[in-house]
């Protein structure tokens, strides 16, 4: 695999006019630049940007006075954080045990057949992205899928493709 080096000098600075930057800075301030609040600050940043761009990681590292490598290490350790932009509409298929037993794999197969998407992929136009979650805690209603933060209970695998199309079309 080709290795891409992210040299600090190659990372474009965030424009100072970016309104999201002010909000990231506010979070950093609220936590008094404490290094132990790193994960909480990263949550705020990902909420704002949808993912964690390298320049944001570098900015947070500088503000918390820690090496960017450490921030990067934390970002890549936790599943919740992502370095790549997500799809405009996110479909999260729960693959917890209850959903697995009730046929989560069939849902993933249908999505794969309908949109050509595997877990972690996004359509070329960036409209729809597919993720899996290790249990969202809706086990009583398995199998469950989250489409744009809305939990859909007892999903019928044969209808999931149409359901996603309706949701995305309506949005």
């Amino acid at each position: 695999m080709p290795v891409t080096l992210n040299r600090a000098s190659q990372i474009k600075e965030i424009p100072a006019t970016d309104p999201r930057l002010a909000k990231v800075n506010l979070a950093i301030k609220q936590y008094q630049r404490r290094q132990d609040a790193l994960i909480q600050i990263l949550h705020t940043a990902q909420d704002l940007y949808g993912y964690l761009p390298l320049n944001v990681i570098q900015h947070i590292a500088r503000e918390l006075k820690m090496p960017p490598s450490r921030v990067y290490g934390v970002v890549t350790f936790y599943h919740f954080f992502t370095l790549k932009p997500k799809g405009e509409h996110m479909v999260v298929v729960c693959t917890g045990t209850a959903c697995y037993v009730k046929g989560a794999q069939k849902i993933l197969d249908q999505i794969s057949a309908g949109f050509g998407l595997k877990v972690g992929q996004t359509t070329p136009d960036g409209k729809i992205g597919v993720e899996q979650a290790r249990c969202i805690g809706a086990c009583g209603l398995a199998p469950a899928v989250i489409i744009d933060n809305e939990v859909i209970a007892k999903v019928d695998a044969t209808k999931i493709v149409d359901m996603i199309k309706t949701k995305v079309g309506a949005a």
């Binding site: 350790f77 936790y78 209850a98 290790r134 809706a138 009583g140 209970a153």
Partner: protein, 565 residues
């Protein structure tokens, strides 16, 4: 804040409720919300207001009532009537017939089916409820989780007052020890002894952490408690803080539980406002405050040393123990770490006494345990039962058995760290030792039921895949061992396995179990080992006959049979 104010709040809420004709509780647990409970809540409120009845009928959102697959659930008091599958369209019928005219709507009662009435009109008399005993969940489904006054009216914060004004730290610890409660995170370490250990370490700074990183797939007990009764956790933590001498607490919650985080934030704000968190609580010398830490999706962070690293903002990798967190915990200080459900039991224990608690359950495993029932079972949802109950009672009496006329095959407890228990052990008692004796663990409380169409090799592979994904990579037995075991299991599932592969699995599993750094690796082989122990014939069928007895695995062509020449 003092006891008078607490009593006044309690009296005020009770007087208000006494003046009501009906109290209507709409389940606003995550399950019912996804079935549309919030629209039902709004519709019912609006209709009652339009009818001019809002003075005599109070409609509140409450935490999880348990029968999640029948949601949205609506409970009408004082008749203890629970309605199922209440849609916005059906709400007007309910409001008009029951709330306005006092007639119970029979065909909407919980567990009624078309043409078949519910077994009882009173919810507490239903088979689903009658074998349950609610301590941890006593507030879930009865109080509004976003209103601290309702928690106080249900005797909330009275235990904290009792501890701070009438008991010494030693006495609080003594009571917890006497109750015999064991850690509800799954391992079952005696809570009182843990508290005493932290108490004995001398340090100006100590911490209390509540482990709400409920990572086991198929478990949602902690989520329901945090969503349905958040003040109970805050009170339990404050009492723990007083007992061990800590002034700061952290609640570590999964990022996947946004509603739990929101309700905790509200609860903390309300408790601070009333002076139940903060400095000099109940005019004592005791200061305590709680901060929420949101996880970021790493199963290993449920392990205590990994969780501590994560609270400190680092990669959540475990470290060797000892020293235990009780000595060297968060920021290097003595730290008490308990599970959500353990903390939820604390206030009731202190309000009554340890004797009462230890009388419930079995001598070695006292109290109750919350389980999340899911999978191929009629009544999925959340239950709380006294320990010592049998698996059969849980699955067939409370859970209603297997739907679709299928046969029961196994029940999985303890998530990726637990095991699959087959039909011949259905009469096993649910307590820490009995579950361990059949190769599984109590675990945090997930209980997934599987029927004859579930392949046991595939389920072992499923859990192994989970462990491969979630292994933090720090120690080699876990990082490489889980990966290798997963490869072998995949081979068998695809019909390409050999008996040698099976032998290799049996050699590898105990090695990983014994040599991994933390609980994740040490328990990762459990699902594999129990399925091998009880369902070896299924493994053999995949390998030798090239078929999946459950019909789940897609085996393209018969495997090169070892017996054929």
């Amino acid at each position: 804040m003092n006891i008078q104010t607490l009593n006044e709040i309690k009296a005020k809420v009770q007087a208000r409720k006494a003046g009501l004709k009906h109290e209507v509780c709409v389940c606003a647990g995550a399950g019912c919300i996804s079935s549309g409970a919030l629209s039902v809540l709004e519709a019912a409120k609006k209709q009652v207001k339009d009818l001019g009845l809002e003075k005599e009928i109070e409609i509140i959102p409450v935490g999880c009532m348990g029968a999640c697959n029948q949601g949205p659930l609506v409970k009408v008091e004082p008749t203890d009537t629970v309605y199922q599958k209440v849609s916005v369209e059906r709400t007007p019928v309910l409001v008009e017939r029951h709330l306005q005219h006092g007639a119970i709507v029979d065909d909407m009662l919980l567990f009624s089916e078309p043409g078949k009435a519910a077994s009882s009109k009173k919810a507490s008399e239903l088979a689903f409820n009658s074998k349950q005993q609610k301590i941890v969940l006593s507030g879930c489904g009865t109080i509004n989780p976003e209103d601290i006054e309702e928690y106080i009216a249900a005797d909330g914060y009275f235990a904290l007052h009792k501890c701070l004004t009438q008991m010494s730290s030693e006495e609080v610890i003594g009571e917890v020890k006497h109750s015999n409660i064991r850690g509800r995170g799954g391992a079952g370490f005696p809570t009182g002894i843990k508290w005493e250990t932290v108490y004995k370490y001398v340090s100006a700074e100590k911490y209390v952490i509540c482990n709400g990183d409920e990572g086991d797939p198929g478990a949602f007990m902690d989520r329901s408690v945090l969503e349905g009764d958040p003040h109970r956790i805050l009170e339990g933590m404050a009492i723990a803080g007083y007992a061990v001498g800590a002034n700061r607490g952290f609640i570590y919650v999964r990022a996947e539980y946004p509603l739990a985080i929101k309700r905790l934030e509200i609860a903390i704000k309300q408790a601070r406002k009333l002076g139940l968190l903060g400095s000099q609580i109940f005019n004592s010398e005791f200061n305590f405050d709680v901060e929420i830490r949101i996880g970021a999706g790493a199963f290993v962070c449920g392990e205590e040393t990994a969780l501590i690293a994560s609270v400190e903002g680092k990669r959540g990798t475990p470290r060797p123990r000892p020293p235990y967190p009780a000595q060297v915990g968060v920021y290097g200080k003595p730290t008490l770490l308990n599970n959500v459900e353990t903390f939820a039991n604390i206030a009731p224990i202190l309000l009554k006494d340890g004797e009462w608690f230890s009388s419930i359950g079995t001598p070695k495993s006292s109290g109750t345990k919350v389980f999340a029932l899911a999978g191929k079972i009629a009544n999925t949802g959340l239950i709380e039962v006294p320990l010592g109950i049998t698996l059969r009672e849980i699955i067939f009496d409370i859970g209603g058995g297997i739907p679709g006329g299928k046969a029961f095959k196994a029940v999985q407890t303890g998530g990726p760290s637990g095991g699959c228990i087959p039909a011949q052990h259905l009469d096993t008692k649910v307590d820490y030792e009995s579950l361990a004796s059949v190769g599984s663990i109590m675990g945090s409380g997930g209980m997934i039921v599987m029927d004859e169409t579930s392949c046991m090799v595939a389920i072992a592979r499923y859990f192994m895949e989970f462990c491969v994904d979630e292994s933090c990579g720090k120690c080699i037995p876990c990082r490489v061992g889980t990966k290798e075991m997963h490869n072998l299991l995949s081979k068998i599932c695809e019909g390409k396995g050999t008996l040698q592969d099976l032998a290799l699995l049996e050699e590898l599993a105990p090695y990983v179990k014994e040599n991994s750094l933390c609980g994740l690796g040490a328990s990762a082989p459990n699902p594999l080992l129990t399925t091998l122990r009880y369902f070896r014939d299924e493994y053999i069928a995949h390998i030798v006959e090239g078929r999946c007895p459950a019909g789940e695995c897609k085996i393209a062509k018969p495997a090169a049979s070892l017996g054929a020449h």
